[in-house]
Symmetry: C2
Subunit: 239 residues, 2 copies
């Protein structure tokens, strides 16, 4: 399998600009062969403004950006893309738009099959099995929670540790993931803290960035992984 994915917990880190914290990773990931990147702005309401933000940032890294929302045929745009960048925002809106524009299957085919497409995803939930472990508000109803399925596990982005001083009684992130694992046949969930990302190349997965990640497996204790850890085990069918 030739897939190449960079799954990023968050687009902006506190105190820095849009994609600043991962710009070196982006340059290294797309490399010098890629000239143009297909941007998917579906997760935010103002797609023109979002495209401008992405275009300005990618220009500083040496890449041109074409937005899928300006393409006459979105499926054809995916078919012809050198590389794809799916922007973060509201996961429900993003997934619904991916289905509405009928590009879910084509993105999966391009990333997983012949002539692979490098995919950079600050919206990592849509790359996984399902969006069941997003933190976003369900502002629209997608036709399914099944996502593009580029990897056989789920992600909880912006993962947060419990705040011992909090007086708020909403569930902690760990409690929410535990609730998910109370449901039958639920896959592993990788809690990606802000500042961390997962690089997937074929059947190898490596944790990058500056923060640890926490892996939740149904019926087992959760495990912490340091940046640099090999997480290829997540890509095996046994997960």
């Amino acid at each position: 399998m030739k897939r190449r994915l960079l799954l990023v917990s968050n687009s902006t880190l506190h105190g820095s600009g849009y994609l600043d914290h991962c710009e070196h990773n982006i340059s290294h990931f797309f490399g010098k062969d890629v000239k143009r990147v297909l941007f998917v702005p579906y997760a935010l309401h103002n797609r023109d403004a979002y495209t401008k933000t992405a275009r300005d940032k990618f220009k500083t890294l040496g890449y041109e950006v074409d937005s899928i929302h300006k393409a006459a045929d979105p499926v054809d745009a995916v078919r012809k893309a050198e590389a794809i960048f799916i922007g973060g925002g509201n996961t429900f809106r993003l997934l619904k738009s991916l289905y509405d524009n009928k590009v879910v299957t084509e993105i999966r085919r391009r990333v997983l099959e012949v002539r692979p497409l490098s995919a950079h995803l600050p919206a990592p939930n849509v790359a996984t099995i399902s969006i069941n472990t997003t933190n976003d508000m369900p502002i629209v109803y997608p036709p399914s929670f099944s996502a593009i399925g580029l990897v056989p596990f789920n992600i909880n982005p912006h993962y947060l540790d419990p705040d011992p001083n909090s007086r708020h009684m909403g569930e902690t992130r760990e409690q929410r993931i535990t609730q998910y694992h109370e449901e039958p046949d639920t896959p592993c969930v990788l809690g990606l803290r802000e500042g961390s990302m997962l690089l997937v190349e074929g059947n190898k997965a490596t944790l990058l960035g500056t923060t640890k990640a926490r892996l939740f497996t149904r019926g087992k204790s959760s495990v912490e992984y340091d940046p640099g850890s090999d997480l290829s085990v997540l890509l095996t069918d046994a997960q």
Copy 2:
């Protein structure tokens, strides 16, 4: 319209026990005529344990509890109930189970039509138009986000003000509700902070509890309301 609803932001307030912060409101709401309350434990995985928690608490207030998950015919249980209490937990799981057990229509009929049923809801999202403004993780896929529709607006429970000291880059609650209102034809959203609740009697709505609530209307500035405020405007069709 005879509906009587007590929509509660949260079941447990920091530093107190289950339903302690609203027990006087519950006693006043159900009154002395009600003897038995039908409990809906669908929002948590362990329904037996949840029922025991609710039963023990309601016993101290003088009410017997029957759980709908032990009823041979859930629709008939709703039809015959004197009063209903829908427990909080995961809103997606709750709404899916309400649909799976085919009780959505019967609860709506009983609350809104003849021989009204008093409904106490620490799971206020399911009483509204839709669950689009829940904070919960979408751990299961319900057949719709449309809820029971006992009131013509939506609620964001456990409403949180932005933390000026936070370094976390996830959206604030206000940003999430704003994203919801970017979608067309979206109704008002009442942000119920922990400690607040809304009493609905016919076409009158009153904010109860100890904290303010914040009302978000599409295309307008949000407005704060003190405990005791009349919020009947939320029940008019113009909303």
